[in-house]
Amino acid sequence: MEHINWIHNIPFFSIFLAMFCGIITPLLKKGSIARMVHTGMLCVVFCMSVLLLLNVYQNGESFTFMMGHFPAPWGNELRAGPLEALMAVTFSAVMLLTTVGGASFIAHDVVPEKQNFYYIMLNALFGAMLALTYTNDIFTAYVFIEILTIASCALIMAKGTAQSMVGTTHYLVISLLGSGMILFGVSILYSITGQLLFPQMKEAIIQLVASGQYTFPLLVVTGFVFIGLAIKSALFPFHSMLPGAYQAAVPTSSGVLSGLVLKSYILLGIKLIYSVFSVDVMLQLKIIDILFVFGLAGMVMGSVYAMRETRMKRMLAYSSVAQIGYIYMGIGMASRIGMVAACFHILAHAVTKSMLFLCCGQMVEDSGGKEQIYYLRGAGFRNPLAGIGFTVGALSMVGVPLFVGFISKLYFATASVYAPGKMAAVLIVLGISMVLNALYFLPSVIAIWTPVKKENETQTRISVSPAFGVCIVAFVFLNIMLGIYYRPFIRIIEMGIILLQ
């Protein structure tokens, strides 16, 4: 008993707590109590994750947690290091700010007697994201991918309008194609390696590659798993599910889905690259180059689609496609610094896009439910806080210094120097993509700060709920803080990636 560090129980306990809150929420009659339980759970998980992060960062260690104390090849394991802990901190912080700040949307858009169901789904979603972050077992990962899929579909559908049902169907079908591919890949992988835990699988794969056995099945497996993850995280050619779903969903759902859910699949992909397939094998099989090319295509095409869009939420959805492209480009560079940039961009996009969706939802609501950018003119004056939040988010996404988006783009550019043969492509596409970002974000920012001359109705200043205000201020603060004080985070990510290898 004396050598067990109690901090090591945190990963399991966070997942368990989230799932447990999901289970008890149906017993609560009122949505407001469910909200309090959810918020409390997020606060507890946030504090525990910060504790875990500090502990693993100070010790410079990563550890595996045996579930039920069954030793390696039989038991199920969780693994936590600085990278996982940092992601858990980000997920819980952003989720907390988004759901607290977006509580008024939930109260407004979801039928009152179904509000506690909405919180069940949020709890399940959060538990599944944490499980994907911490898991060390590939089949557990698959199961939680499916839980995440169902929970996110339910969140999109929560509004109950016909449009949201169509959006959900689209999202569900595409997601199921992705998870089907992952499941098949995992099955073949099990049959050629005979293992399910990451470290044992890695050994088996290295042996297979060295002996030249099963080269073709290994290629198929890697393709299936990574294309499956790419479909689920809406990499460019598979992005068609995003706009319809995000447009129709409650803004809170859109923020959580775009900011966090897509990222948890990517994080799983990064973990798989390092702790299962290993970078050398990925390079040998050329799968990582495919991800790189798709990422580059996504960076440009996402922005092009976003420019053609007149409705703000769809524009933000396409902008997510472009940002996911950035992350895959970083992964595709297959160098450590590229991966650091990708991980930092996960963080940057999470804190920015959730805020953008919340502000956009608020401005649309203030402008009579019309989401065309034309009708949103002057929305910044109607609700200054949402306007400022949107402006900060847009500037950050464009890559203006002082904001977090700039740092990740800086690191992407730096990383390109260390990626032989890919440098020109990265720099050119990065430049084009940033110009395109500016071309669609700045007109919308200008639009919301354009005063509307003929206003027949009296200018009633719309009252902002205090929770929304506090959360937007916190988001703006996070954006600027991460944009200036970014070095510790880069160090944590770097340490996490070194420990993952």
Partner: protein
Amino acid sequence: MTHLLINYYEAASVILFGIGFMNLLLQNNLIKKFIGLNIMDTAVYLFLAAQGYITNRVAPILTHGIVDADYYINPVPAGLVLTGIVVSVSVTAFSLALVQRLYKHYGTLNMDEIMRLSREREGE
């Protein structure tokens, strides 16, 4: 070719997976789409079950008092299949509930038709 004949279970499961996958992707009728999902998942279970079976061995249940592992088949794929079945049942239940609501609202199961109606009502 001989590989295909020896591993005929796996070959069949890959063909079924393809059928299910394309059905889920391309089928217009929503019910048939989700039948495609089930075909796809079942194909994977067939694959896993075929991987777990070892000729001339029995299921790992202690009836004759033999504890030697060489007497039994691999039980792990069976566990994976069970987990997978639970997942696929819940996904199917969710999708069918969704289809039901869509049908109540639009009066059709054709996905193209639903998309068209949805766009018209949105007023594009």
